[in-house]
Amino acid sequence: MSTDEIRVKIKKSIATITSLSPEEITDTASYRDDLQLDSLTILEIAVDAEYQFQVKIPDEVLSEIRTVDDTVRVVQQHLELAVA
């Protein structure tokens, strides 16, 4: 799966979870500071990403995720790990 495909799916999921508009969900906007999302919502985004892509991301890595870019990168890494 390409990075762009991953990005599109993740942004769609964030839109569903938060009701934010696609324009607001930029690649580098901070979930907490820019999008004002609380910890439960950020956790939901992470678990939904794991579920959609069928990957398991360790807690320590999950807690480092701050933006869409981070989420895409981590998902991609774990997809590659799964294939390898």
Binding site: L40, L43, V47
Partner: protein
Amino acid sequence: MKQLRVVVTGIGVVTPIGTGCERFWTNLLAGRSGIGPVKSFDTSAYSVHRGAEVHDFEVENYLSNLDAAHLGRASQFAIAAARLALADANVEIASLDLERAGVSMGTTSGEPREVERFDDLFVSRKLGRVGPEFLALYPSHVIAAHIARELRFSGINIMIPTACAAGNYAIAHAFDVLRAGRADLMLAGGSDSFSRITYTGFAQLGAIAPEVCQPFDRHRKGMIPGEGAGVLVLEPFSSATRRGARIYAEISGYGLSCDAHHMTAAHPNGEGAMRAMQQALAQSSLSPQDVSYISAHGTGTSTNDRLETLAVKRLFGDAAYRIPMSSIKSMLGHTMGAASAIEAAACTLAVYHDRIPPTINLKEPDPECDLDYVAGCARAHTVRVAMNNAYAFGGNNASLILRKSYE
């Protein structure tokens, strides 16, 4: 007009550290832990594996009228605790006006194993096997209903499912019912059974500790889900004395509030918790410095313990440093809707025996948690007034005050 006084004359508990008041109290004071590997379902797909389950529980010992096969686990615990409480209070059921004997219980999940059974059948496409028993076993009101059915109580019957503060809510309601003269005797408390739904949820929130529950400790890693039931016999002071009952303690007041802030996280400045404590003190005509002991909600999560400490300090001021506050969840785990009922039982016993249970596993206090948490060992301590605090998902806060009945 003088308000009717409400006292506790009986205690019944089913807990991970023992069933029955005596065993529970002995083990509590000894700092015994009920936490161990989860046995009721397979946790290999989880990253945590420990819980506080009730072992060796034989419900048949407590049933005269109902059949265990028609009772969910939380109902079984509740009936056992109810029977134990009545026996402890030396109540002759035959002497009661059953239309004025009531039940007020709290729970977080009701009977989740029944919906788990439903789901197991659903995913394996065998839903046809679900029979009429689902409705009779599942909805949460059945817990109070089953107690009443077993005992033939036809007074007030109510279920208050306010999650982890439910026991306090149920006891508070029973207190109000008695004071309004709408019952002569109330069984009040809470019950919850171990459940994979609850375990899964808390595991997903990253809230479950891998090994032990260590409230207020710098290295605390979370809570440990548990199960159990606690039931108190409450009656008016006048009728308790008239029948020569042993009076453990008096309930003098309670406070309820709502954070209205977040579903799973407490308000960051402890405001809701403070209001609940303030109301309880005001209703009891007491000041913060009158409190001898606080039974903390103390789940062992990073946020709860810190915010709870903050709320206590904000309300009590300097007195906070003089009042011991312990968390028995360090031993029992978090028994959900039963927790504050079991903790109310512990407060009642603390008032009666002038001893307070410890917070175990507290080795190095978090610098933000600098109160006296009775670390390690139980302590002899004159307990004139005990405050029992509980905080729940949905921002439900409840504080209950128990005091010596003869002062």
